[in-house]
Symmetry: C2
Amino acid sequence: MSETRAPEAGDAGVGDGDSPLIRLTASEAAARIASGEISSEELVSACLTRIEAREETVGAWAHLDPDHALEQARAADRARAAGHGIGPLHGVPVAIKDIFVTAAAPTENGTILHAGRQPEHDASLVEQLRSAGAVILGKTVTTELAVFHPGKTRNPHNLDHTPGGSSSGSAAAVADGHVPVAIGSQTAGSIIRPAAFCGVFGFKPTFGLVSRQGVLPQSAPLDTLGPMARSIEDLALVTHCMAAHDPRDAASWPRSRPPLPQIAESAPPVVPQLAFIGSPAWEEEAEPVTKEAFGELVEHLGDHCDATELPGLFAEGLAWQRTLQLADIAKNYGPLQEKAPNKISAKLTEMIEEGRMVTAVAYNRAREMQDVLYAGLAQVFERYDAIVTPAAPGPAPSGLDSTGSPAFNALWTYMGVPAVTLPLLEADGLPMGVQLVGPRRDDARLLRTARWLLRFVTGEGEAA
Amino acid sequence: MSETRAPEAGDAGVGDGDSPLIRLTASEAAARIASGEISSEELVSACLTRIEAREETVGAWAHLDPDHALEQARAADRARAAGHGIGPLHGVPVAIKDIFVTAAAPTENGTILHAGRQPEHDASLVEQLRSAGAVILGKTVTTELAVFHPGKTRNPHNLDHTPGGSSSGSAAAVADGHVPVAIGSQTAGSIIRPAAFCGVFGFKPTFGLVSRQGVLPQSAPLDTLGPMARSIEDLALVTHCMAAHDPRDAASWPRSRPPLPQIAESAPPVVPQLAFIGSPAWEEEAEPVTKEAFGELVEHLGDHCDATELPGLFAEGLAWQRTLQLADIAKNYGPLQEKAPNKISAKLTEMIEEGRMVTAVAYNRAREMQDVLYAGLAQVFERYDAIVTPAAPGPAPSGLDSTGSPAFNALWTYMGVPAVTLPLLEADGLPMGVQLVGPRRDDARLLRTARWLLRFVTGEGEAA
């Protein structure tokens, strides 16, 4: 039984005894800190109290140093009191997936092989968040080397279900009210899927928008970084803060920082037109509740949405994504596996072995097809503002041995297009995400369309 | 027996009966056409007369349409007479290797499989040369698909010797006085080697400086385009005209067009300091005449040059270059070979088959090592303005079945650094090139250093 719901992302398990501060979005928190209504220390303390109460149950954190978090918060408060300029995230706590290097905390990449590893520097995006005034609250749990073998995290909506992966801790922390924003990464479906499973907003920007300098490399032509949050406004704000050009990442392109928040929060100049595309995974992988929910959603959207299909060639995209990911996993993680074969999970070992067999010809053809396939997709965007498609085959599966399937994400990651998931649906008491996909480099317009859809479905504000 | 010689590049076989116009460099020709001293039609006619006399012997041309060449020349003359603005190559004939698409002539890529193939457009660099006012004289012979199997071209200095490859026709045409400038391409050693064998100046700019849009792709991380000419000034002028940023080539980077001629023709602010590096191929591949000639050259340079060596890791560079080239040959030419196996040479078939075995892991490690190795090389350039090294194992080998070894070129191509060859040496009546290698993106300074070296060795002008 599925239903459309008015989302209160981050409401999982939040009770009356908790501070109302832990329900604030980053944008709301930043505004209140800037105006002096609340202090960063109050907000961070409220988050830490919530984490203390819930962490044993949820297991979202890999590293958390409350004293260091409070130190940053008090420094932010002092800077404001002293009249210093403050950034757009001044005093707002942000969580960082534990595959991004941080100078103030270890970075263990979800593997015992990197236990206790302490980097010297901050990853580029951490530097950028600090420049925007953010308090780096701590490091969130990742699956083993950001692939499939789960960490300790549980889904706050139902502790017997997976939170999704690989950005498991980031999604659970936001969903459970530990922190308003957390950063994740996606090589197949590691931002959109856990965000959908945990009922929060998640955004995978255009490939190359956020620098990967200082981030564990899994697959250079696929790895993409982005935020999870409790509102679309927060996705825009935080992505904006992270989106500086960085020549150290070959995928980054020279440009000014895109004005994501301004565009994302504006009204669309004309009513958006959406294309419902089940994606090549629809027939075989979408669960009945998903088919039912999306059938209703498309009906509800009426003239604003046409159901359409992609040409048959797109079905190959999933195999090409897998070719790239496996070969790069073999290159990047193979040496670790050779060094300590019994410290790598059986599943990852199998993937490494499969990846070692990929030929350069197959890899480079798959690389070339990224742009060829996108050229076909771009034609869809000549008629439609965005594609509507499931964020996952269904709600979070039961059990903690798997993080679920990225079948509804990998194709979009492969083509480097921006994708956002909105926690608009529900089935069996678990959240389900509606994924919107847009053209490359038009991230702000996709978020604007997402905001329009959210308002249309929830009836909040004006829909056009 | 080797000796240093004052080069008169392009003097192979030029006799008293020939028009003096065919000895002009492009820079000289452009100046005389601009001043009205000569017309483009006179110059192009002189070139065509020379070609008519020599082509049967040398075999430099794949496609030549004298009427179309003269039409372009007359149009250039009319434009000048009408007072229109003229470009830096106005009315100057340029030859184009037959792997660059041209709308006005077929592009056959040196393979019977593309016989008669007529593209619709000009390659980006051809467009840029036309914008600079150049007359596209015709298309020059390439080896089969720009790899190793020779075309019909002979070395003008000794018809029983190879002209080198794959840009065989471009080198021979410039050497034999057919045209002042010809464009070639290099994936291993295909500009520098034939230029050296034919006794002309050749320049492989920094990887990505000249757009490869419209050029037969052989290996995306290696393919580099550049000119052959009769002076360093011409190398700078023609490269400048071709060096616009082009977003259609992923290797191109956003920038203004570099002022190569101004810098290349200026006096060095301090006397350049050179490093003689035999390269990893020196011990096994350099011929005795090469060792003798470079020993004398280094001695002659005295305090201006230190003999030094690269760390042992650089010896791997040749294998890594080969990994990339073979795997990409398999990807790019494998489908042709599958379609018509008996129309592909045995040598190329063998390379395709070897390339199909390269794993994605090996390929991508070789890709990563390009920058790692260059980081080591960059340290050399903190102390030295340029590296001096042979352009080839020796003079052009006897016989027309092979185009010689790229062992002295492939390492520099792999690292994407600019390289220039100067026809400064001679052995057994054949020219030998002195190769100078500089840091990435500092093409103009390398050409300036080359000009200093030329003057120092020949005693022409002031050496500092």
